[in-house]
């Protein structure tokens, strides 16, 4: 069981996503939530962060936070999975511990 990392900051404003990916072990997972969901969008100056982690880290994004911000699911980087709060709960239960990149 590996760690679940949560990132709630926009990658355009803070380095939380960048640091999280640098310090996330292969086989761990990242959940992008709150302003962190902008890191899951393809075709941006920061898309390479998540795209580059593919194969090493499973990336999830919180659907209600996408919806609140008007981010359409068809704009997500390939391979990013959308979960709701129930899915967030399942991810916490399925991983050995949760690390919040505040």
């Amino acid at each position: 069981m590996a760690l679940l990392h949560t990132v709630n900051k926009s990658p355009f404003e803070k380095n939380a996503l960048e640091s999280c990916i640098r310090l996330a072990l292969k086989g761990s997972s990242i959940l992008l939530m709150e302003d962190g969901v902008y890191g899951a969008v393809k075709g941006t100056a920061k898309s390479s962060l998540v795209a580059g982690a593919k194969g090493k880290i499973a990336v999830y994004v919180l659907g209600p936070d996408l919806d609140a911000r008007g981010v359409s699911k068809d704009k997500l980087i390939d391979g990013v999975k959308v979960v709701d709060y129930g899915g967030f709960v399942d991810l916490v239960a399925q991983h050995s511990a949760t690390q919040a990149w505040l």
């Binding site: 640098r22 310090l23 761990s28 511990a97 949760t98």
Partner: protein
Amino acid sequence: MSDEGGTIKKFMYVNRKAPYGTIYALESLEVVLIGAAFDQDVSLAFVDDGVYQLVKGQNTKGVGMKNFSPTYNALGDYDVNKIYVEKESLDARGLTVDDLLPLKYEDEDDDWAEKDSICVISSAELAKLFDQQDVVFSF
């Protein structure tokens, strides 16, 4: 809540924020000091701007705030002596371990010899440490 007495968990306090600009560093240190009484397997990690918390020579007279950096020196007395600083974060900020507080502890398993608490490690090593934790506190 039931008391499962005797449980020892691996607790990691992750510090990623600079001191003074926000209160997180100070109040995080307060948790570490209280937590030391609970006999868990505690370690601290300083990453990103968190490394600025450990910089020596802090003088808060001019800003009128309490200088809490001397408190880090007391961590050794609380048996909090596993303090990991990420090398990449130091490098990115033009810092070396010589810029940091010389935190020490007395090793009871080695005739109370005085040893360094701070251990500068790479991102790869820190990632492995994070992965072993039962509880990760971040503030």
